[in-house]
């Protein structure tokens, strides 16, 4: 990707320093459940989860340039790992949380060793096929509850720490912490460390990166394992919050689709992209189900959105905000497209 290496967080938003913006955002987010009711807390919780998931996809898809069309599988793996630990072994949630990340990391490593030898479309297909296979597997295994799904314990003592009642705000703060941690990790690892430069180098030209002495295989594998483990953590919290998980829900292809469109719409390979995209797409989903009644109308909307973004603004909303894509670009794009319709 040809975007400048300066990230949006370090560019100035007018004259307001970035740290102030971040601070205000964090304070607002922390105060949100106290100011608003349970309904809005749930909405906020969902938005935070999707921002985090989109950010985790952004690591492998945006920064490393490997389109992982099976990333949703790790969300499901995290959910089922937590469920299995809590139901089958009767351990508290915190144990499940840790195990989820560990299991996902191990599976991701085993998958990464062969799969990351593939590039481009082949990688996309292989991961996509893998996710479908995981879903089939979950539907046929006993430990995941098979086609019956899995119900998680809801007792107050099942958390592992004395947190009292399991309220929506508790899960909100859990998700908030996880989401902020994910953003912070992304920022530090991909924008502020040498490792991040290696990742971007291999994305822009893998052969050139290799020739500069970067062990691209190793770097890709590390990025993949990191991003998958994070997705699993979100799956873990989601499972405990929702209390009933089924392979058709937590391993559905739409989960990956949403991560892809959120990162893409916001802007691939940027910190702010998945945040903006996550909020926009999540709100679109909520609003469409509230105002249009049917939740499936959201699917064609997402499809059209993906197509429009790819056609006219491949660097997403962040690209537009940064001025990389302005009105003339879009107009030129549309003109070139019209020329290609000269078919007869």
């Amino acid at each position: 990707m040809s975007e400048k290496t300066t990230d949006v967080l370090s560019t100035r938003l007018g004259d307001v320093p970035v740290w102030l913006v971040v601070l205000v955002a964090v304070v607002v987010l922390v105060a949100l459940p106290m100011a608003l009711g349970a309904f809005w807390t749930r909405i906020g919780l969902g938005a935070l989860m999707w921002i985090g998931l989109a950010q985790s996809w952004n690591m492998i898809g945006g920064y490393a340039g490997y389109l992982d069309f099976g990333h949703g599988a790790y969300f499901g793996i995290g959910a089922f790992a937590t469920g299995a630990v809590m139901v089958t072994f009767g351990l508290p949630f915190l144990a499940g949380f840790v195990v989820a990340a560990a299991v996902a990391a191990v599976i991701a490593y085993l998958v990464a060793v062969p799969t990351l030898r593939l590039t481009g479309a082949y990688f996309a297909i292989a991961t996509w096929a893998l996710a479908e296979a995981f879903k089939q597997l979950a539907l046929n295994l006993d430990i995941t509850g098979g086609t019956f799904g899995l119900s998680l314990p809801t007792a107050a003592g099942s958390f592992g720490l004395p947190v009292g009642e399991l309220s929506t705000s508790l899960f909100y703060y859990l998700m908030l912490a996880l989401c902020l941690a994910t953003i912070a990790v992304t920022y530090v690892v991909f924008e502020r460390s040498e490792f991040g430069f290696r990742v971007k180098a291999l994305r822009d030209d893998e052969d050139a990166a290799e020739s500069l002495g970067i062990d691209t295989t190793r770097v890709k594998r590390q990025v993949y394992v990191l991003s998958c483990a994070i997705a699993a953590l979100f799956g873990s919290v989601h499972a405990y919050f929702i209390t009933f998980i089924h392979p058709n829900d937590v391993l559905a292809a739409i989960i990956t689709d949403q991560m892809v469109i959120m990162a893409l719409l916001g802007g691939l390979g940027t910190i702010t992209g998945p945040i903006i995209g996550g909020i926009l797409v999540f709100l679109l989903q909520r609003l469409s189900s509230v105002f249009l009644g049917q939740s499936t109308i959201y699917l064609p909307l997402i499809g059209v959105l993906i197509m429009i973004v790819v056609l006219f603004a491949p660097s997403g909303v962040v690209g537009i905000l940064r001025g990389e894509v302005d009105r003339t670009d879009i107009r030129n794009n549309a003109r070139e497209l019209a020329e290609k319709f000269d078919l007869l």
């Binding site: 996309a124 096929a129 479908e132 499809g303 059209v304 993906i306 056609l311 491949p314 290609k340 319709f341």
Partner: protein, 297 residues
């Protein structure tokens, strides 16, 4: 001990199914060759064909076969006008154009699936066919249901016609030239927009027509597309990207695998077995089992 009669019948069923999968695989492989895009929407064309078969057949005297000509024309036109969009995405000044093409068709597939789900709901639909009722019994070999036989015949005929066009006409030569090298083809005066559109349109038409037959053999469902996308991937991965003759072999392998797994294990694990096979092939020989495909990137 495996019963011989059942085994032979299962193999026959598999071969008959393979005929129709070959049609899907060849179109998909050609779309990759010409447009250099891995089309995530391939299974959705199958689904749209099957659903339209289910919707239109009752209007045409409960006869799914009569829907085919309409589907062929309709989807040719649709594909003809979708192609410029894909071409625009994969060329021009944008980062990682090929991956963007993949994402674009991913969006297209979601759009098709979501639209059908929203408009028609998630129910199964039958594609009736009164002409193709019944079956032919061949002693000591097994039963050939007419629907499956007709499906296989359609597959072979469509494939032959397509191959004839590609290898014996000027337009086919133009398409092969574009698949070989787009820039040079353009320099030779080939109208690449038109011929790419013809190629993509033919692919969409064939795939949707195959979908009508698949709907007759099984049933039509808005969610069925994903499976056929997986099948198409499976075939080209096995055959090697862009290597058309290999698709014939891999379509038959696919039909046999599906049929044998469904009978001797369970239809639930068919996808799992296929994914395991894809996986092994991709890792051991990324240029296909015959080793003649391109390494896509």
């Amino acid at each position: 001990m495996v019963e011989t009669g059942l085994l032979i019948q299962t193999i026959v069923n598999g071969l008959l199914l393979g005929g129709i999968y070959v049609t899907v695989g060849v179109g998909f492989s050609l779309a990759f060759g010409v447009l250099e895009v891995v089309d995530f929407a391939v299974g959705e064309y199958v689904m749209l064909g099957a659903i339209l078969g289910g919707l239109a057949a009752p209007l045409l005297g409960s006869e799914g076969v009569f829907v085919i000509p309409f589907v062929l024309v309709g989807f040719f036109v649709l594909g003809f006008f979708v192609q410029p969009l894909i071409h625009h995405v994969t060329t021009g000044d944008r980062p990682q154009p090929l991956l963007m093409g993949l994402v674009f068709t991913f969006g297209l597939a979601t759009f098709f699936r979501g639209t059908v789900l929203t408009v028609l709901g998630p129910n199964n639909r039958d594609v009736p066919s009164s002409l193709l009722q019944g079956s032919l019994t061949v002693p000591s070999v097994g039963i050939f249901p007419y629907v499956r036989a007709a499906t296989a015949v359609f597959g072979v005929v469509a494939l032959a016609a397509f191959m004839y066009y590609l290898y014996n006409t000027k337009g086919g030569m133009a398409i092969r030239a574009i698949a070989e090298d787009r820039t040079n083809a353009r320099l030779m005066g080939i109208k690449i927009n038109r011929y790419q559109s013809i190629a993509y349109g033919s692919y969409a038409a064939l795939t949707a027509a195959a979908g009508v037959f698949i709907g007759m053999v099984f049933t039509a469902n808005p969610g069925m597309g994903l499976q056929y996308t997986a099948f198409a991937f499976f075939m080209v991965v096995l055959a090697g990207m862009g290597y058309l003759p290999g698709v014939i072999l891999s379509g038959i392998v696919l039909g046999l695998t599906q049929s044998l797994t469904a009978v001797y294990a369970s239809s639930q694990v068919v996808l799992l077995v296929l994914f395991a096979l894809i996986y092994v092939v991709l890792l051991v020989s990324p240029a296909g089992i015959l080793g003649k495909g391109e390494w896509a990137s």
